[in-house]
Symmetry: C2
């Protein structure tokens, strides 16, 4: 835990002066004040983050999000033994393969957004070749079935979070070698059964009833949904995860990739990189990070609001407003990748829309010609 | 009206076979069925439109939306005499100038979406130089004050719609000269006071109370809002626009640019081009078009849901689900331009995400190497 705290202490407050200057510019652009809604706040937030590293941002307000990376974190879940998912566990490694081959949904949407996809194994129930071009962060081949025992030990929970943080460091090192940096990160997930721990996590933190927080995942029927709710309710009764101890929650009802996703958020915040969370699993990871270090929220963006019902309660807990609401329920990072495009647009709005003053200058110059 | 009907008769039904094949492919992609929500329907709809012209689409399902154009339609409104807007009418020509100079919000968002901006004058209260690179479709310098008399004659209403249709034809002719085509259109608006006729139009068609449909436009206070509602209520009482006669509604409480926007939608549908409407003014135009020819909806996409309260009722009337909901209330085509990016992503989802079968083939090929 001390190793995680080292990174948490590293998280800086974004530059408030840049934010104020950005909001001022937005309010003075040649359009009604506030008329570009959510993207105005997004632009100011991105600028305030960029302002930490680049002292010139306060003058230009021009943030270029060039190097965009989605990290899709995979892991398996012992709780699938309880019949909570439609798909067999074999699908998890198959999809990891599919991500690496470039034909999956996240590859297509990341490409559209001009982003790169990186895949990380935190606990897939399969032995990948060490040569496979993924981040090898496996804690163990699938969590334990939390209907019967804690999903993982506290040490494993910490290991999964540190694995996520280390990915941020490795990405930065790689980018540094290429003379670039990581301008924005997105998180994504893959793992059969992973909406079950995600619903359990939001239930543990919020105290809202499991029935209200639990959805159909990949599309289970009424009977399976009823069973999924009971499995989560019983696990919470059995383990009594302490909502004031995020590591306790993660270890008892979480997942290795959820720990990894939490680590990505902490790592991104520690290194001053904006990070976009995707669906309910990514956001469960973000919520663990938020409970460990509430100030990660200064770096965090909610990519979209999923069909999965528990998602909106996670956003509410962190005070985040999702950028998209188009009935996605896939994960992989698809909603984060698509949200990159809106965030990128927000940077252009801030930098490029002329103020009333700038318009007047242009007109005066034209008249002088 | 006969001249408009000629175009309405030209509107074809999109290719149902292409749509069925698109939905089939989407359902067989290596991900849970339906998991990319709204963008699946969007992709199938776009493909079914493209299938009319390109018989090969049924084989490839690969629609390339290369040439994207936003047409921003400007006009002034006599009803501003009633104190319904914060800004003076002089702002309309200034903003037209700003669009042409490239520094306005729509220029920035269109550029981000890889789209071109075209500006059209349907009734700005200003004499633009004939050399100004805009579509010169002026019907008259501002509508009449519909608090006192009909906004325009029926002939003027028809002229404004025909002006919009002619823009589609001119864009196609231009594109043809460059060896391209127009792949998708977006509509936008500029005109001080133009939320007032837009709210009046949705009130006339829906019968919902004016108070429920009328918003603050660019940001008027409670007192001005109360006045705006009364102005619309009295105008509807005075003119009794016939909801079964869209030309009657447009002429009594509409605007020249709103007629132009209706014409753009009819023209796009007549020439088989998908068209995205923006905020409440664009959508008021789309609604006039829809009331004249309900099948335009096969070509129509709702870019976003505006803060302006009447907007959602327009979408409901046409059965359209907006792609974005990020508190925009600017117009100009900004929401349509941003929605282009999601529609473009929808075409990539349909064409590029591999099916389970394709993934199996790739894996078999890899194993043979």
């Amino acid at each position: 835990m001390q190793r995680i705290e080292k990174y948490i202490k590293q998280i800086k407050k974004p530059d408030e002066n840049v934010k104020a200057k950005a909001l001022d510019r937005l309010a003075n652009q040649a359009r009604p004040a506030g008329s570009l809604g959510t993207l105005e706040e997004v632009g100011a937030k991105i600028a305030s983050i960029a302002g930490i590293k680049d002292k010139n941002i306060i003058n230009t307000l021009d943030v270029q999000l060039k190097n965009k990376v989605v990290v899709t974190c995979a892991g398996d879940h012992g709780v699938v033994q309880e019949g909570v998912s439609l798909f067999p566990q074999e699908v998890t490694p198959q999809m990891v393969e599919n991500f690496v081959n470039g034909g999956a949904s996240i590859n297509v949407l990341a490409k559209h957004a001009g982003a790169t996809v990186k895949v990380a194994d935190f606990g897939v129930n399969f032995d990948f070749s060490p040569n496979m071009p993924i981040f090898h962060k496996k804690v163990r081949k699938a969590t334990s079935n939390f209907a019967k025992e804690p999903a993982m030990s506290k040490d494993e929970a910490i290991q999964s979070i540190l694995g996520g943080i280390s990915i941020v460091e490795e990405l930065l090192k790689d980018a540094d070698l290429n003379g670039t940096t990581v301008d924005i990160l997105g998180t994504g997930d893959m793992g059969i059964g992973n909406t079950t721990p995600s619903s359990a996590i939001i239930a543990a933190f919020s105290g809202i009833s499991v029935a209200e927080l639990t959805g159909r995942g990949t599309g289970i029927n009424d009977e399976m949904l009823k069973n999924k709710i009971q499995v989560i309710e019983k696990a919470l009764e059995l383990h009594k995860p302490n909502p004031y101890d995020p590591i306790d929650v993660l270890s008892k009802v979480g997942g290795f990739e959820i720990g990894g996703l939490a680590g990505l958020v902490i790592g991104a915040a520690a290194y001053g990189i904006p990070i976009v969370c995707d669906g309910i699993i990514s956001t469960a990871g973000a919520l663990i990070a938020y409970k460990l270090a509430p100030n990660v929220v200064d770096y965090l963006f909610a990519g979209h609001r999923s069909v999965e019902v528990g998602h909106k309660f996670m956003h509410q807990l962190m005070g985040l407003e999702p950028l998209l609401d188009i009935k996605f329920r896939l994960g992989e990072g698809t909603g984060a990748a698509l949200a990159f495009e809106l965030i990128d647009a927000a940077t252009r709005i801030l930098a490029e829309i002329k103020t009333f003053e700038e318009v007047a200058i242009i007109n005066a110059q034209k008249q002088m010609l």
